[in-house]
């Protein structure tokens, strides 16, 4: 047992062919362990969330009752991506745990949908949203340090309020970007190795080693996504996060939540 399975190529080389599929179970166990760990942390160790500043009540009253958080295209992207991602994960891994069905067509079609939706998202985020709002900045990193120190009982100033996205959203997005781009880029080249109406099949674009590395990266990112998606669903359904999760359906968050957690100066308004 290991992480990568190797085989002999016709030229006698040892080449990677894919990951060992028991890693599926490892990913599921990792996801579950995270849930349990997080619940214990919240229950017994976490301190109440505090911020360095707040919006004066007079200012809050002037805000609209619902603050726009996600535009319709952004929400649509999220749900299309979620559907494609779940289809990809189930079609990839169910057959590996013994559920028989013609998975490949579901998998490649969902892969194409995901790729197109990601391209759309990159364009949308670059030109129609505040591109930098989702990437951790200097304040986020400083505040993460402050939170950590405070959680350990050390002295540190209270962290500032978030911009549009809390730090954990940003970190999660970063992880999804890495895993998502790994699966889509490798998946794109893997598409040429199967018969689809999209391209003339060509499995000889790369040598055995490159192909093997591509399958391996696809698999590693894929099992990583199992854990990541589990964690995402867990957070989305946590009671204290529901206020944010609902904005992925309705597009808005409540004014009180906004005023308490978000700094209007850091949350740059976006075009629709």
């Amino acid at each position: 047992m290991g992480i990568i399975e190797f085989a002999k190529s016709p030229w006698g080389q040892d080449v990677p062919i894919h990951i060992f599929f028991y890693l599926i179970y490892v990913a599921v166990i990792a996801g579950l362990t995270f849930f349990i760990g997080h619940v214990i942390w919240l229950r017994y160790f976490a301190k109440k969330e505090e911020f360095a500043d707040s919006t004066p009540p007079g200012e809050v009253a002037k805000l609209p009752a619902e603050i726009k958080r996600h535009s319709l295209p952004a929400r649509l992207f999220h749900w299309v991506q979620a559907g494609a991602m779940l289809t990809l994960l189930f079609s990839a891994f169910l057959p590996k745990v013994g559920v028989r069905f013609e998975w490949l067509q579901w998998h490649w079609i969902a892969g194409v949908v995901l790729t197109v939706s990601i391209v759309f998202h990159i364009i949308h985020a670059s030109f129609f949203m505040n591109f930098w709002s989702i990437w951790p900045d200097k304040i986020d990193i400083e505040d993460a340090g402050r939170r950590w120190k405070r959680s350990q009982g050390e002295k540190a100033p209270a962290p500032r309020r978030f911009g549009k996205y809390p730090m954990e959203n940003k970190m999660y997005h970063l992880a999804i970007v890495l895993a998502g781009l790994s699966v889509t880029l490798t998946g794109f080249f893997m598409l040429f190795r199967i018969r689809t109406p999209l391209f003339t099949r060509n499995s000889y674009m790369f040598g055995d080693m490159t192909n093997g590395l591509m399958y391996t990266l696809h698999g590693l990112a894929g099992v990583g996504l199992i854990a990541l998606i589990m964690i995402h669903v867990y957070f989305a359904l946590r009671p204290e996060k529901l206020k944010i999760s609902r904005s992925m359906v309705y597009g808005t968050i409540k004014r009180e939540h906004y005023a308490e957690h978000h700094d209007p100066k850091r949350w740059v308004a976006e075009a629709e």
Binding site: A7, P10, G98, R100, E102, Q105, I194, R195, S203, D208
Partner: protein, 337 residues
């Protein structure tokens, strides 16, 4: 062909005397166990040291698995019945002669004396890249060595390929599909009966297996209902040598005619895909049609719709078309145009 290395890797050999004992062993050892019938395919794998099971369950001592008996007007053939016994059985010869012809066209007399009907329908593909031990898709890898520009793929699939282009080599399989046979499968949790056409699976469903059998499963019998008893049958196998050779393409058809018209028909071919292919569209197009050259022509054309030959097996397309024509109208009507 793989080099026979002669000395098999060590395994624990069990020779149960009853089906129940065999099922207990298969259940206990799961995917570590190898079911052995006549051993003709099994010993290839073991001697080539490509499959290395830790347990072999030899069915040869299970008397309940052999013989042909009457069943509901049709017959039930024990999975361990040899191909020779199937060929020589008087009921098979009289009512289901297409099976006798199909089984008799397999391999050589010696092989048919030892090879069983259960083994024949459950045998693995003959793709030599796979059988030589290359880690191809079917062997758990990420490549089909038979589907490259320089591959030797004259015997491979022209349809139904999903990454793997290997074909099913059984001669009895299309005959059983044409006869609407039922495969009786047992495991520790019970029995299930699967239509012959669904017994065989392609790489899209499971690239590592040729049949629906999973670890723990045993094919115990094949039932042939009376539905097609005494129908008009056609079996033809095209191969490189007249004996001891696997089919390039074979065809089996069972037909009921009413005057000049085709009342009903079942038709299956093998050697063109990873599983024997029942030609349902062709069947549907023929029902109620006169059995003449025009119907045969149209059916032949329909049969090859969607065929995607590889570099060296383009000949299988006209071969398939003409076999379908011959199955409907007879040898004299088919042309190699």
């Amino acid at each position: 062909m793989a080099v026979i290395r002669d000395v098999m890797p060590a395994f624990e050999l069990f020779q149960p005397a009853t089906i129940d004992d065999a099922l207990n062993l298969l259940d206990k050892h799961g995917s570590e166990a190898w079911v052995m019938a006549g051993g003709l395919d099994s010993f290839d794998w073991l001697k080539d040291r490509i499959k290395r099971p830790s347990v072999v369950v030899d069915l040869s001592q299970i008397k309940e698995l052999t013989g042909v008996k009457e069943w509901n007007g049709g017959i039930e053939i024990g999975a361990m019945t040899t191909l020779t016994d199937v060929v020589r059985n008087p009921i098979v010869k009289e009512k289901f002669s297409i099976l006798a012809t199909g089984a008799e066209s397999a391999a050589s007399p010696q092989i048919r004396n030892q090879g069983t009907i259960g083994g024949n329908v459950s045998q693995d593909t003959r793709c030599w890249y796979y059988r030589s031990g290359w880690k191809c898709y079917r062997a758990g890898g990420n490549t089909c060595f038979a589907d490259t520009p320089t591959a030797i793929n004259r015997e491979h699939a022209i349809m139904g390929a999903s990454r793997c282009v290997a074909v099913n080599p059984s001669d009895s399989a299309p005959a059983l599909i044409a006869l609407d046979a039922k495969m009786v499968i047992r495991n520790k949790s019970g029995e299930r009966v699967v239509d012959a056409e669904n017994y065989f699976i392609g790489p899209a469903l499971d690239i590592r297996r040729m049949t629906v059998l999973l670890p723990g499963d045993l094919l115990v019998a094949i039932r042939i209902p009376s539905t097609w008893a005494g129908a008009k049958f056609y079996f033809e196998k095209v191969r490189d040598r007249p004996v001891w050779d696997f089919p390039l393409v074979n065809i089996a058809a069972a037909m009921k005619v009413n005057g000049d018209n085709i009342e009903s028909i079942r038709m299956a071919v093998n050697g063109v895909a990873a599983h024997p292919v029942r030609l349902t569209a062709v069947e549907a197009s023929l029902v109620g049609k006169p059995r003449n050259a025009a119907s045969a022509d149209a059916a032949g054309q329909l049969a090859i719709q969607g065929a995607e030959p590889l570099r060296h097996n383009g000949y299988k397309v006209p071969l398939l078309r003409n076999l379908v024509k011959r199955a409907i109208r007879g040898v004299e009507e088919a042309k190699w145009a």
